[in-house]
Symmetry: C2
Subunit: 343 residues, 2 copies
């Protein structure tokens, strides 16, 4: 086990009883769907040992956020539960909206249980996330709930931006600009990672300035994470990612590498724009050709740079926050682990 795996395991152990309790307080039916979505059980309710559970990054960030400000990791548990539930809610509803049939190599909840029930399960997770945090003891609950609710608005906005990208042209007037993609990723991915760290810090009693810096670190982590994800979505090894080769291209996703390639203005960018304007489907050899053009137009290199910029900014924000030494080191370990995914 790597240090990061040990770390994620420790945080998961700490948070697990409260997370199990929160799911256990749902209506049995929505609880069953929630357990499935969390990778704890299959559709028959049998414990799932197939490794369908998420890494638990968000709960770990919440715990480390509290420890980093000198508090006990246990203080962050209601925040950790809230961000894990919100994350599960957003995957569940996003899969409906994006018509994604698979999630972690299993049928998505809407495929396994139907769209209506999946909408309900997401609602139940979101409601329970807010309730768990709102009922947390201690003097910092109100500030934590305020932060979470602000993040929820941001998260939903990010998903709205992402869905609207689908309607827009690949190039020319109205095309999605790389900066608009960055803003979407910040809202859709960065905000919740930032919130996880911030909730830990808030519940740990940190001053506003420290909370802001940790939040900023989390948001940059999210942007770096998304950039890596976009690279893997095109050039990732299917044996590692569990997705088909060129998956994002086949799905017609307007991701950062493609957008910066299209915005490059050179010969490859022009060919790429022409191809998107004329090709009926991007698959097989066309996908391989598109991937090569994106790379030629600098899309891969620039996305890697983008990731590095945000990793650096994340580490800088951590250093500026003057954190407890051990926890700061663990955050560094976790950040590095998250971004070192075979790219």
């Amino acid at each position: 086990m790597t240090p990061a795996t040990v770390l994620l395991g420790r945080c998961r152990e700490l948070v697990r009883p409260a997370l199990v309790d929160a799911v256990g307080r749902l209506h049995p039916w929505t609880g069953e769907m929630a357990a499935y979505a969390l990778g704890w059980a299959d559709t028959a309710g049998t414990p799932d040992t197939g490794g369908s559970e998420g890494k638990g990054v968000r709960q770990a960030l919440a715990v480390l956020g509290a420890e980093a400000v000198g508090a006990d990791g246990a203080d962050a548990v209601p925040g950790a539960v809230a961000v894990e539930l919100v994350h599960t809610f957003s995957l569940l509803h996003d899969d409906i909206m994006d018509a994604d049939a698979l999630r972690r190599q299993r049928p998505a909840v809407w495929k396994a249980y139907g769209t209506g029930p999946a909408v309900l399960a997401g609602d139940a997770l979101l409601a329970q996330a807010v309730a768990t945090l709102a009922e947390a003891p201690g003097p910092h609950t109100a500030a934590a709930v305020r932060h979470l609710s602000h993040t929820l608005n941001t998260l939903v906005s990010g998903q709205a931006e992402d869905l609207r990208f689908e309607e827009r042209p690949w190039s020319g007037p109205g095309a999605v600009e790389p900066e608009q993609y960055r803003s979407m990723a910040d809202h859709k991915t960065g905000a919740l990672l930032g919130c996880a760290l911030a909730l830990g810090a808030i519940l740990g009693g940190a001053p506003d300035r420290t909370v802001s810096r940790l939040e900023r670190a989390g948001r940059h982590l999210g942007l770096a994470f998304q950039a890596v994800d976009d690279i893997l979505g095109i050039w990732g090894d299917p044996r590692v990612t569990g997705k088909p080769v060129h998956a994002d291209l086949r799905q017609g996703k307007k991701t950062y590498p493609v957008l910066v390639a299209l915005a490059d203005g050179g010969k490859a960018a022009h060919e790429l724009a022409m191809l998107f304007a004329t090709a009926e489907r991007i698959d097989g050899e066309t996908a391989a050709h598109v991937a090569a053009l994106v790379e030629e137009a600098g899309g891969r290199t620039e996305t890697r740079e983008e990731a590095r910029r945000h990793v650096d900014a994340a580490h800088r924000a951590l250093r500026e926050a003057s954190l407890a030494h051990g926890a700061a080191q663990e955050l560094d370990v976790l950040f590095t682990h998250l971004l070192d995914r075979t790219w």
Copy 2:
């Protein structure tokens, strides 16, 4: 205009600017869907003057809840906004789950904008409801958010119970008992009406005992309201309800009048059970026959009694709460108005 209409109008005027502001802070696309769902605009964004807007009962209850405990109605505005947004969220998502294509004689949001966007719009409304309340000024915000989040859990549970009723037999082992229906209605309808009054009282600084009594009044009001709704769903005049005659029977809804009729044990109940077990569809003459059998087995009378019991209990809870005289009278007016719907 009746006194109740004047009252609802006064509360709507008071809450409107904050509600418009809350919707205006959403992503423009979800904001457009929210405005449509609230009956403010058509799908082209043109202001809707066709009377598609709801009565605004929940916002009025929040305002009157504050006034009833001697506070300024304005103190309740963040709570009023929250309950209206939660109500709109729940209609929007419930219509998806129930595959209801019409809402207030217009296409439901999922019909007008698609299922995915409707899921998103509901999420946006829910998130904004929590955020609006969490950001309210004053010393009672944390208690109000706690109450709202508890209610959200209850509301989602109620919808889960309701959806599960569909899978169960009309009679025999596993049939829905009238008491289970009452519990579902309390969760799905009563909880939010109770929450509206409670939030007004909490934000108005009332002691816990008063909050509980007002909440109880609202929950009984909800149960009475649901009973009246169930009567109208079978015997309502289509020109008044805007729904086809015997609408609930045609849709196969397991409502209170039918469940108590089936539980009656007499001859009509047996014929009814047989009919549900064998009829492929309930429509036309079959629906009229079912309605007659439900009435013969006491379903209509007993549901009317049920409504009266809850109206009485609601008024009793109001009296026990020792409220400001004027506001208590207005609550009486509103309660009576809501239950006096041509039955």
